[in-house]
Structures are given as structure tokens and as C-alpha cells.
């Protein structure tokens, strides 16, 4: 009896599949993804959301826009009072952006870990000021300022200023933390004061970036300025509130068109300016 090749049972090689994550990591990844999915499912159940309504919302929005909002009442937005409010919105955004940038530069200096005056006191203080003004939404700031100071553009401008401090302060301090420390140490070693260090070693490095950020801040502030009036902060937002509450949808549509157009213009303008300044570097 001879053994032929076919009689030998072939032992299948253990199937090995390549996977990017080994045992502990793969389990952790799986658990995290499962937890996120569970949270999402729980949210849908907790908020009592009908998933089919989400998909239905967009056709419905389109239908409402087409039937109720459609012929935008363009006469309303060419009215002198409305044009005046648009100009005031622009003024508010300019002032808010300017003061916001002005106050956020020293705060960013305190909140930059590498060049701050003192890590124990000034750093957390600057960080907290920037974080605090960033965390609270600009509409809440508007309502708070309106409560304290009354209706009008002062409240709106202050709200925009606080908003810009948070927005620009974060970007500024990130930029400051990325600077080359060589000049700073050189200035310090020859006995320069913190202010001299900032003026001669830090500022020249970040001047161009700061200008770009300042322009971008104005762009974002203008977007926010279009709605501060909704809560009593002055500007065109007030017209939006009035027409919305009176259900004059065609006028709302016209105001929305104006907002989109202006924001588009502001974005194109700020993009052009930033590119120009970036080229000067």
C-alpha cells in the first residue's frame, strides 16, 4: 500500500488577515465608535425626532420659500431707512472689529504660553478672558448688553467687540505661540523689558499674519452684525425681526437676499485684501 499525494490531508494554513490596529487598540476603537453610535441613538430617542421629517424638511423648506417668500419685495430694501440701517450695520462691524482687535492683542500676548508675562497669573487670566468671550454666543452677549445699556447700537457694538476679542484672541495667541523664540531670547538676554521684547522681537514676526487675521475678524464680525439687531442691538437685524414677526415673508426674503449679497461682497473683499497682504510677506 502506497500513500499517494492525494491521501495526505492538507492542513489549511491559519487564515491571517492584516489589520491596522492590534488587540487593545482595536477594542478601544470599537468601544469608542459603539459609544458614539449609542449616544447618537439615544439623542434621537431623547429628542423625540422623527427621522422621516428630517428628509421631509428640505422639500418643505423649498416649497415654503417658493410659495410664500418668492417674489422678494425689493422696494422694501431700497427704502432710505433700510439702506441707512445697512450702513449702520457696516459701521457697527467696523467699530466692533477694530476695538475687538485692539483689546485682543494684549490679551493674546498674556495668553500665549511662550511669551506671556507670568505663567502663574497672567496666562490663565488671558486664557480665561479669551475663552469666556468665545464661549458665549454673540447673540447672548447682545441680549446681556441690551439689558444693561438699553436698545441701540452701543449694545450691538459692545457685543461685537466681545465676540471679536474671543475670535481674534484665539487666532492671535495661536499665532504668537508659533513664533521663533530666538529673537525673544536675544532681547531678554540683553535686559529688555517685556514691552520692548513684544515690540521688537515678537511684533515684527507676526505683523503680516495679524493684519490678515484682523481683516478676517472684520469679515466674521460683519456676518454676526447682520443679526445683532434681531435682539435689539441696532442695524438691519431689527428690520428682520419686525418683518418676521409680522409674517411679511416677501420682505424677509428681500432682506435675506441683501444679507447674502453683502456677506458675499465682504468675503470677496476680505479675501482679496488678505491675498494682497499675504503677497507682501
Amino acid at each position: 500500500m502506497s500513500i499517494t499525494a492525494t491521501d495526505i490531508p492538507t492542513i489549511p494554513a491559519p487564515k491571517r488577515e492584516w489589520s491596522r490596529y492590534r488587540h487593545p487598540q482595536s477594542t478601544i476603537r470599537f468601544a469608542v465608535i459603539l459609544a458614539i453610535l449609542a449616544f447618537l441613538g439615544w439623542s434621537v430617542a431623547f429628542l423625540n425626532i422623527d427621522l422621516s421629517r428630517i428628509l421631509g424638511a428640505f422639500p418643505r423648506l423649498a416649497e415654503i420659500l417658493a410659495t410664500r417668500y418668492f417674489p422678494p419685495d425689493l422696494d422694501y430694501v431700497t427704502d432710505a431707512d433700510f439702506v441707512r440701517s445697512v450702513i449702520r450695520t457696516l459701521e457697527m462691524s467696523l467699530l466692533g472689529g477694530f476695538f475687538g482687535v485692539l483689546f485682543s492683542i494684549p490679551l493674546a500676548w498674556l495668553a500665549a504660553r511662550n511669551i506671556t508675562v507670568s505663567r502663574r497669573i497672567a496666562y490663565p487670566l488671558g486664557r480665561f478672558a479669551i475663552m469666556g468671550s468665545r464661549s458665549i454666543h454673540e447673540t447672548i452677549w447682545t441680549i446681556l448688553f441690551v439689558t444693561v445699556l438699553g436698545f441701540g447700537m452701543l449694545a450691538g457694538t459692545l457685543a461685537l467687540t466681545v465676540f471679536c476679542i474671543g475670535f481674534a484672541g484665539k487666532l492671535f495667541s495661536d499665532e504668537l505661540e508659533a513664533i521663533d523664540m530666538g529673537p525673544v531670547e536675544a532681547m531678554r538676554s540683553v535686559g529688555a523689558s517685556p514691552l520692548q521684547v513684544f515690540q521688537y522681537a515678537v511684533l515684527p514676526q507676526v505683523r503680516v499674519a495679524f493684519t490678515g487675521i484682523a481683516i478676517y475678524t472684520w469679515d466674521v464680525a460683519f456676518r454676526a452684525a447682520t443679526v445683532v439687531g434681531f435682539f435689539g442691538g441696532g442695524g438691519m437685524g431689527w428690520y428682520l425681526k419686525r418683518t418676521t414677526q409680522q409674517l411679511e415673508s416677501t420682505r424677509v426674503a428681500a432682506i435675506l437676499l441683501v444679507i447674502v449679497g453683502l456677506v458675499l461682497l465682504a468675503e470677496i473683499g476680505s479675501g482679496w485684501l488678505r491675498r494682497k497682504i499675504g503677497n507682501m510677506r
Binding site: 449616544f39 425626532i49 467696523l94 445699556l149 443679526v227 456677506v263
Partner: protein, 275 residues
């Protein structure tokens, strides 16, 4: 900077000095113009429009601010559910925003767009539209379309986040390294395999980082959705404001701060884990 773009001419140093002088005059004119513009803005908005009588001097302002300092802690147990709602609204809104921004990013990325003349401008336009309309306005539109509740808040947050997510995603797609794509094509990978093994792994870290960043911002946004009728902490804020319970208002603001601090911690660790 000024030495680089100085004109080179036979006049040499004099021309250079004149050029510098011109630059200085230009800078002064720019600064003077800016100051004049800001001064006019200041006069027109602050001095002209403000009702100084209503404020009642410095004492009146201090008196109003003082009322915010007596924090109404009794409201605290009633804030847990709205805070959770706000967090959930932000999460679901971010998720929906991601799903909706997939086609927008696909249309708006110049190298993979289905049609350069129709879909590319459409994608770009949708990105701008989503970012240029404030979340409050989106919420108003959706409250009109689907009624009160958390749903319009989720939809508004989603619409507002499409712009940013899809813009970053489109830029990431435009900047991918074409070599892996070509390699997969060369060994006979089909269109889906090219997408899944060639493009997705390259853009995934960027996208996840962006999504975490956007989620962080969306917590802020969903905290105000209640102001226009869409649940969460904003609704409690609105009610406390309407009742002139300023201590409660302060507590709601503190709750928003705590929520955002939690979000910041989570997003910090999440970003560390991904990158």
C-alpha cells in the same frame, strides 16, 4: 520689506529716498483715513444713537449689573435636561451637517467634480450660502418649515456647518497625493476601490479634525437655538430673561460655559487620539 521693492534706476539713492518718502506719505494717508472713518462710525453709532438718559449714568449701569450677580442656584436641577438637549442637538446637527456636506464637497472639489461648468459653481455657491446666513436665520426658516422643537435647531446647526466642513473637505480632496490613486488604478482597482483605498485614507484625518472642531462650535450655536423656538439652554435663557430673573440668566450663562468647557476637553482628547 521696503528695500526689496525699491526701484532700481540710475538715479540710485535719491530715487530710493523719494520712494521711501512716498511710501511714508501713503501710510500716513491710510492711517488718517482709517482714523477718520472710525471716528465717524463712533460718532454716528455710539454718540448719536445711544439713549444716554435710559442708562441713568454710571450708577444705573452698576445697579443693573449688580442684579446679575445674585446667582439663582435653585434653577440648577432644571438645567440638566436642557443642557443635555443642547449637547444632543449639537451632535446630531454636526452629523447631519457631515452627511449633507459630502455631496457639496464632491461638487466643489475641482479635481473630482462631475461637471466643471455646472456642479463646481453650484458646490461653491452652496458653501458660501451656508456660511453667509447666520444660524439664527436658518433656525427661523426651519421653525417656519417644520415647527417648534429640537428638529429645527438640528437642521439649522447642520445647514450652518455645511459650509465649513465641505470647504475644508473639498480643499483636502484637491490637495491629495495622486500617486496612491494611480497605483490602485494600475493594479486594476475599480472606481469604488480607488475612492475607498486611495482618497479616503488621505483625507480622513483632516475631515475628522474638522468635524471635531465644528462640533465644538456647534455646542455654542445650539445653546442659542432656543431663542427662536428650538429647545435647549437657549429656551431657559429666554424664559429667565422674560421673567427678569437675572440671577437665573447668569446661571444659564454659567451652564453654557461649563458645557463648552466639557466639549473643549472632549474635543482636545479626541483630536489627540485621531492625529
Amino acid at each position: 520689506m521696503s528695500t526689496i521693492d525699491a526701484p532700481v534706476s540710475e538715479h540710485g539713492f535719491d530715487a530710493y529716498l523719494a520712494h521711501k518718502r512716498n511710501r511714508r506719505i501713503n501710510n500716513w494717508l491710510l492711517v488718517a483715513g482709517g482714523v477718520a472713518l472710525l471716528g465717524w462710525c463712533f460718532w454716528d453709532t455710539i454718540m448719536f444713537d445711544t439713549d444716554w438718559q435710559r442708562m441713568g449714568g454710571a450708577l444705573g449701569i452698576v445697579g443693573t449689573i449688580e442684579r446679575f450677580f445674585f446667582v439663582d442656584w435653585s434653577l440648577l436641577p432644571k438645567l440638566v435636561v436642557p443642557a443635555l438637549e443642547t449637547l444632543m442637538m449639537a451632535t446630531l446637527g454636526t452629523l447631519l451637517g457631515c452627511i449633507l456636506s459630502l455631496p457639496v464637497a464632491w461638487f466643489g472639489a475641482a479635481n473630482v467634480t462631475p461637471s466643471k461648468y455646472f456642479f463646481y459653481p453650484l458646490g461653491r455657491f452652496l458653501m458660501v450660502l451656508s456660511r453667509s446666513i447666520h444660524e439664527i436665520i436658518w433656525a427661523l426658516l426651519f421653525v417656519g418649515a417644520v415647527g417648534l422643537g429640537a428638529l429645527p435647531g438640528i437642521l439649522a446647526v447642520a445647514m450652518r456647518s455645511i459650509g465649513f466642513i465641505s470647504k475644508i473637505t473639498a480643499e483636502a480632496i484637491e490637495n491629495i497625493d495622486p500617486k496612491p490613486v494611480e497605483a490602485i488604478r494600475a493594479v486594476g482597482g475599480n472606481q469604488f476601490q480607488v475612492m475607498y483605498y486611495g482618497i479616503v485614507p488621505q483625507i480622513l484625518p483632516v475631515i475628522i479634525g474638522t468635524i471635531i472642531f465644528e462640533w465644538d462650535i456647534n455646542i455654542r450655536r445650539s445653546a442659542i437655538m432656543g431663542l427662536v423656538g428650538a429647545g435647549g439652554l437657549g429656551l431657559v435663557f429666554f424664559r429667565q430673561m422674560a421673567m427678569f430673573n437675572y440671577g437665573g440668566v447668569t446661571l444659564v450663562v454659567l451652564a453654557v460655559l461649563v458645557l463648552i468647557a466639557i466639549g473643549e476637553v472632549i474635543s482636545h482628547y479626541a483630536r489627540k487620539a485621531v492625529i
